[in-house]
Amino acid sequence: MDKFRMIFQFFQSNQESFMNGICGIMALASTQMYSAFDFNCPCLPHYNLAYGLGILLVPPFILFLLGFVLNNNISMLAEEWRRPQGQRGKDPAVLRYMFCSMAQRAMIAPAVWVSVTLLDGKCITCAFCTSVPVETLGNASHPHLSQGEIQRVLARIPCKEIYNGQQLIANEVAVRYLRCISQALGWCFVLLMTTLAFLVRSLRPCFSQAAFLKSRYWSHYIDIERKLFDETCAEHARSFAKVCIQQFFEGMSTDLVAARCHLPRKAPADAGEAAEKLLGITDQGTMNMALKSWHRCKPPLHLHPPALPAGNGWAGEGQLPTHPSAPRKETAAYYSWV
C-alpha cells in the first residue's frame, strides 16, 4: 500500500501542475502551428473575408475542443453528472467547479492563437483589405474605375506581386494601416483577456471562499476515489487471474495424472519450492497439452473455494485441491443468479 500511497500523492499534488503543463504545451503548440502555417490570402473580393475570418476563428474552436479532449477529467465530470443518485447526493457546485476549471484551461490555447493572429496582422489585412478608406489614404479621384473594379484592385493588396493599384492607393500605406488596426485589436484583446483572468482570480477570495474550498475538496475526492477504485479493481483482477490460472494448472495436472494412472508423486515435503512452482507439469507433452487447453478451452471465471486444511500436509499457502468437474458446473449455475 505504501507504493500506492506514494503514487496517489504524486497524482494529487501534480494533477494541477500536470493540467497546467498540458495547457502551456497547447499554447506553445498553437504559436508553433501558426508560424508553421503557410498563410495564403486568395486576393479575390469575396473570398478574402471568408478566408481571413476562417483562419482567425476556426482553429481556436478546434483548439478549444482539443483542450477538452486532452483533459482527463472530462470523463470524470461526465460520470459524476450522469450517475444515478443512489445513496450519495449530487452537489451541483462541485460539478460547476469542475466544469469551470476545465473550461478555463481549455480557453488558453484559442486565446493565444487569436492574439498571435491579430498581432501578426496577416489575417485582418487579408479579410478587410477591400474596406480600406481610399478617400483618406489614397487617390479616390482616380478615374475610370467602377466599384467592382476598385474592389478587385483592393482585394489584391495582400498579394504584393500582383498588385496593380499603386495609383489608387499605395500598397505599403494600406498594409501599414491595416496592420496597425490589427495590432491595436490584438493588444486590446490580450488586455481584455488578462483583465478578465485577473478579476476572476482576485474576486473569488472576496466572495465565496468557503464554498470554493468545499467544491475543490470534493472534486479532488471524486478524482482520487475513482483512481483508487481502479487500482483496487486492478489488484483484485490480478489476484483473481493468479488463482484462476493456478487452479487451471492444478486441474490439468490432476487430469493428466488420472489419465496416465501414475502413482502419485512423492509427498512434497521434500520437494523444493521450484517443484511446487512447476504445478505438477514436468514434461514437454504435458506442457503442450496445457497450452493447447488454455487456448481451446479457457476455464470459467469462477474460483473454487479453498479447501479445509487436511492432515496430509498438502494444504500449503498456494495449493488448492481441485473439485471434480461435475460439481464445478453445478456451482457455476449456483452462483449465476446475480
Partner: protein, 301 residues
C-alpha cells in the same frame, strides 16, 4: 512524517525563489515579445501617436496583471485580507508587507518593457514625429501646413516614397531617438538608485517590524500549503476507507445470498483478503454495476 518535513522545508526555502524565478521569466518574456513584435508605425497623422503610445503602455499593463495572476502569494494575501477575523486577529502590517512584495515583483516586467522600448526608440519616433517643429529642419521649413503634417507623419517609415532619402527625415529620426534613449537611460538610472537606496536604508528603519511581518507572511503561506496537503491526504484516506467499506458490503451481500459453508481461515486468509470474497465473473459484474448505480454514501464512521 520525514517525507512531509522534507517537502515542507522545500516549500519554505523555495517560495521566494519560485516567485523570483517567475518574475525573471516574465522579464525575459517581455524582451522576447518586444523583439518578435513586428512594429509597424501607421505613418498617418491621426494614428501615429495613438499607436506609439499604445505600444509603449498597453503591454506593460498586461505584463503587470500577468505578474499578479501568476504569483501565488497574491491569492494568499487576498484571502488573508478578506477572511473574517474569527479567533485570529488580522495584522495589517503583514498584509501590507505581502502587498508590497507582490507589487515589487509584478512591476519588474513592465519596467523592462518600457525601458527596452525607450532604448530602442521606434515607439517615440512613431508617436512624436508629428509634434516636431518643422522650422528646425531644412526640408520641412518651406512646406505648407497640411503637407508638412503628412511628411512628418511619414518620418518613421524609412521606405515610404515621399520621404525616402530625405536628410531631414533622418535628422528628425535621430533627434527623437536621442531623446528616447536619454529618457530610457534616465529612467533606468533612477529606478536602480531607488532600489539600491530602499535595500540599503531599510535596515535603518523598523527592522523589528519588518522581521515580524516577513515571518508571519511566510507562516501564512506555509500554513495554506500544509492545509492543502492535509486535505489531499485526508481525501485519499477517506476514499480508501469508503472503497473498502463498499467491497465489504458487497462481500456481505454475496455471503447472505449464497449458502456455502463458512470458510476456514488459515492458509486461505491472505488470498481471501485480496479477493474480498469476490470470486466469480457475475459477482465482479454486480460489484461494478453497483459502484456506478449506487455509489456508497460519504460516511465512513
Amino acid at each position: 512524517m520525514d517525507r512531509f518535513r522534507m517537502i515542507f522545508q522545500y516549500f519554505q526555502s523555495n517560495s521566494e525563489s519560485v516567485m523570483n524565478g517567475i518574475c525573471g521569466l516574465l522579464a525575459l518574456a517581455s524582451v522576447k515579445m518586444y523583439t518578435s513584435l513586428d512594429f509597424s508605425c501607421p505613418c498617418l497623422p491621426q494614428y501615429n501617436m495613438a499607436y506609439g503610445l499604445g505600444i509603449m503602455f498597453v503591454p506593460p499593463i498586461i505584463l503587470f496583471l500577468c505578474g499578479l495572476i501568476l504569483n501565488r502569494q497574491s491569492l494568499v494575501m487576498l484571502e488573508e485580507w478578506r477572511r473574517p477575523p474569527g479567533h485570529r486577529k488580522k495584522d495589517l502590517a503583514v498584509i501590507r508587507y505581502m502587498c508590497s512584495s507582490i507589487m515589487q515583483r509584478a512591476m519588474v516586467a513592465p519596467v523592462v518593457w518600457i525601458v527596452v522600448t525607450l532604448l530602442d526608440g521606434k515607439c517615440l519616433i512613431c508617436a512624436f514625429s508629428g509634434s516636431m517643429d518643422p522650422q528646425k529642419f531644412v526640408d520641412f521649413a518651406n512646406v505648407s501646413t497640411e503637407q508638412v503634417q503628412q511628411l512628418l507623419a511619414k518620418v518613421p517609415c524609412k521606405d515610404d516614397e515621399l520621404v525616402r532619402n530625405n536628410t531631414s527625415r533622418k535628422a528628425v529620426s535621430r533627434y527623437l531617438r536621442c531623446w528616447s534613449q536619454a529618457l530610457g537611460w534616465s529612467i533606468l538610472l533612477i529606478l536602480i538608485i531607488a532600489a539600491f537606496l530602499a535595500r540599503w536604508l531599510r535596515p535603518c528603519f523598523n527592522q523589528a517590524t519588518l522581521l515580524q511581518a516577513r515571518h508571519w507572511s511566510n507562516y501564512i503561506d506555509i500554513e495554506q500549503k500544509i492545509f492543502e496537503e492535509t486535505c489531499c491526504e485526508h481525501s485519499r484516506l477517506f476514499a480508501h476507507k469508503c472503497i473498502l467499506h463498499f467491497f465489504e458490503s458487497m462481500q456481505q451481500e454475496i455471503k447472505l445470498h449464497s449458502f456455502s459453508l463458512p470458510r476456514e481461515g488459515g492458509g486461505a486468509e491472505g488470498r481471501e483478503g485480496l479477493l474480498q470474497g469476490i470470486t466469480d465473473q457475475d459477482q465482479v459484474n454486480k460489484l461494478l454495476k453497483t459502484w456506478y448505480y449506487e455509489k456508497p454514501p460519504l460516511d465512513v464512521s
